[in-house]
């Protein structure tokens, strides 16, 4: 008898908390680690203002974001790129612009690289730093994994028509990349401003143009993209309100090195 009572109590408890949970709105967002800092900060601020909304945010890469929102496993897919044509049903909500930097280990004292040099390095044609004006040190290329939107942006805007050679190390997230570049002598990789600004790595100038927001706004610096918060179908209700909140909160945008779309003096399609 006692056993039955306990079991009943457990079931009641679960169903009560279940219904209670379903009464609140819950939003899940995942994907680009470049957009992640902004979404996380925004989620914190938004939940503070709207306590009945629960927002869970995680990374995983743009590919993960696209994939999971298409599978309806999450509500918002964060991505550095437009979804590929094979994925249907997603609505693109552009929220901001982000610049990316080619980063190198600070001990190399390399501050500038031409586009051709970057192409050669990542294609594997150049293997020692002394071939591009640096010290005598083997180049360690750190690539991004296949699901990375940052990688697609890199290939499209910096080293096209070349592609990155596969044989090197590959790391998944912005943070891991930065930490590996910091520690590995001779390392080179690429990541978003939201992760690189303020870190002990060198953001290389491309063809003499420095990696700054100002240069992205004018379009002189080529390595940038829009950030997309994708939804499966048009965004409605709290999801829409949250996405609007992300794209309009100037303070959080600036803190994380993002640029408001309306501030851009240039624009691109298909980014």
């Amino acid at each position: 008898m006692k056993r039955n009572a306990a079991l009943a109590a457990l079931l009641v408890g679960i169903s009560v908390s279940t219904t209670a949970a379903f009464a609140d709105t819950s939003i899940t967002a995942a994907g680009s680690t470049a957009l992640l800092p902004l979404v996380k900060d925004a989620a914190g601020a938004y939940q503070a203002a709207n306590p009945s909304v629960k927002i869970s945010v995680s990374g995983g890469g743009s590919g993960t974001g696209i994939n999971q929102v298409a599978a309806k496993a999450i509500d918002i897919g964060d991505s550095d790129i437009v979804p590929p044509p094979t994925v249907t049903g997603l609505v693109d909500n552009k929220v901001a612009v982000i610049g990316f930097a080619v980063i190198v280990n600070p001990d190399l004292k390399v501050k500038n690289l031409t586009r051709k040099q970057i192409q050669d390095i990542f294609a594997g044609n150049v293997t020692n730093w002394n071939q591009v004006g640096g010290p005598d040190q083997k180049i360690v290329v750190i690539n991004r994994t296949r699901g990375s939107g940052t990688r697609v942006v890199f290939e499209k805007t910096v080293i096209a028509p070349e592609k990155v050679t596969e044989g090197g190390l590959s790391e998944d997230a912005t943070g891991t990349v930065i930490s590996v570049v910091k520690q590995t002598p001779g390392a080179i990789s690429y990541a978003a401003f939201s992760g690189t600004h303020g870190q002990p790595v060198v953001e290389v100038a491309i063809d003499g143009v420095a990696a700054t927001e100002a240069n992205v706004i004018t379009g002189k610096y080529p390595f940038w993209s829009y950030e997309h918060m994708l939804t499966n179908g048009p965004a409605t209700g709290e999801v829409k309100k949250f996405i609007d909140f992300v794209s309009s909160n100037t303070e959080l945008l600036n803190k994380n090195s993002f640029i408001k779309i309306s501030d851009m003096k240039t624009s691109e399609t298909n980014r």
Partner: protein, 294 residues
């Protein structure tokens, strides 16, 4: 004349038997479901995308833009890492198993056995983290590897992880040998070492084979500990200190971003199915080894 008490307990007995038989049946059902799902999902690469099985198994060209997911690099990676682990950890494990069963005095055994149990209990992600923070810098600073992420690092971590399995299974198989074997050998004037090498090892060979096979199974299936130290490079390793990838690391690395229904997703499931097949082959090997004993 069966009393009502007896009748009730008979009914209880029958209900109980049905319930526990269903639970045992559930185990069969679960295994069947897993086999079914993974074989359906895992063969889509060949039946839906029409990619050749031979290419999948033997082509080192893993090019998704070209719709050509050749998995040879990862298969070889899994193989290499497993061989490394078993070559380093296998003999070591058997030796310590011998030690525990034949040589260790009680105090030492009381210290060693809990130590081994603790090593087993350490989660694999912690082993991966230990590899990342301890091994990778060591390899980076002392070998030709520029970043420290390497096949060797993964192999060493794996060897440590399979040690407890190999040790305890070896110890068990030595313990189950009849004492007359030892006594007979020593009585003939053999030293303890000779006894172990010439008499006990051959007699325990099937048990030791099982220990090694299960160690291999553990190594083949390990994911996270390897992923944190191997460098995840889609290429054959350039030497033992070069980075590479295995079936398990590529699955955990790419599955989250693989679009549902895409060739990439199908290829990853095919790799998972391959791992499943390898696991089942290993089980059959174990059964074979155990049967040889009798």
């Amino acid at each position: 004349m069966i009393s009502s008490i007896a009748r009730r307990s008979h009914r209880t007995e029958r209900i109980a038997l049905t319930v526990i038989r269903m639970c045992a049946g559930f185990v069969i059902l679960a295994m069947a479901a897993i086999l079914l799902y993974l074989s359906v999902e895992g063969t889509k690469t060949f039946f839906v995308d029409h990619f050749s099985l031979l290419q999948f198994l033997f082509s080192p060209d893993y090019d998704l833009d070209d719709n050509h997911p050749g998995a040879a690099i990862f298969i070889v990676g899994t193989l290499l890492v497993t061989v490394f682990a078993i070559v380093v950890g296998g003999p070591f494990g058997i030796a310590v198993g011998v030690f525990l069963s034949e040589i260790a005095p009680k105090r030492m055994a009381q210290l060693l056995k809990p130590a081994i149990e603790l090593l087993v209990g350490i989660p694999s992600v912690v082993y991966g983290w230990l590899g990342l923070t301890l091994l990778v810098p060591l390899i980076r600073d002392h070998t030709s590897s520029p970043s420290g992420f390497s096949l060797a690092g993964a192999g060493i971590v794996l060897a440590i992880m399979i040690l407890p399995t190999v040790i305890s299974l070896s110890e068990d198989s030595f313990n189950s040998l009849p004492p007359s074997l030892r006594e007979g050998s020593l009585a003939l004037g053999a030293t303890r070492f000779q006894t172990i090498v010439r008499v006990l090892l051959p007699s325990a060979s099937s048990g030791l084979a099982v220990a090694l096979i299960l160690g291999i199974a553990r190594a083949v299936g390990e994911t996270l500990a390897i992923q944190l130290v191997i460098g995840n490079a889609t290429a054959f390793p350039k030497g033992i200190f070069g980075p590479t990838a295995t079936l398990t690391t590529v699955i955990v690395g790419e599955m989250p971003s693989a679009t549902q229904g895409s060739l990439q997703e199908h290829a990853l499931f095919s790799m998972a199915f391959l791992l499943l097949i390898i696991a089942m082959v290993l089980i059959l090997l174990v059964r074979f080894a155990l049967r040889k004993r009798t």
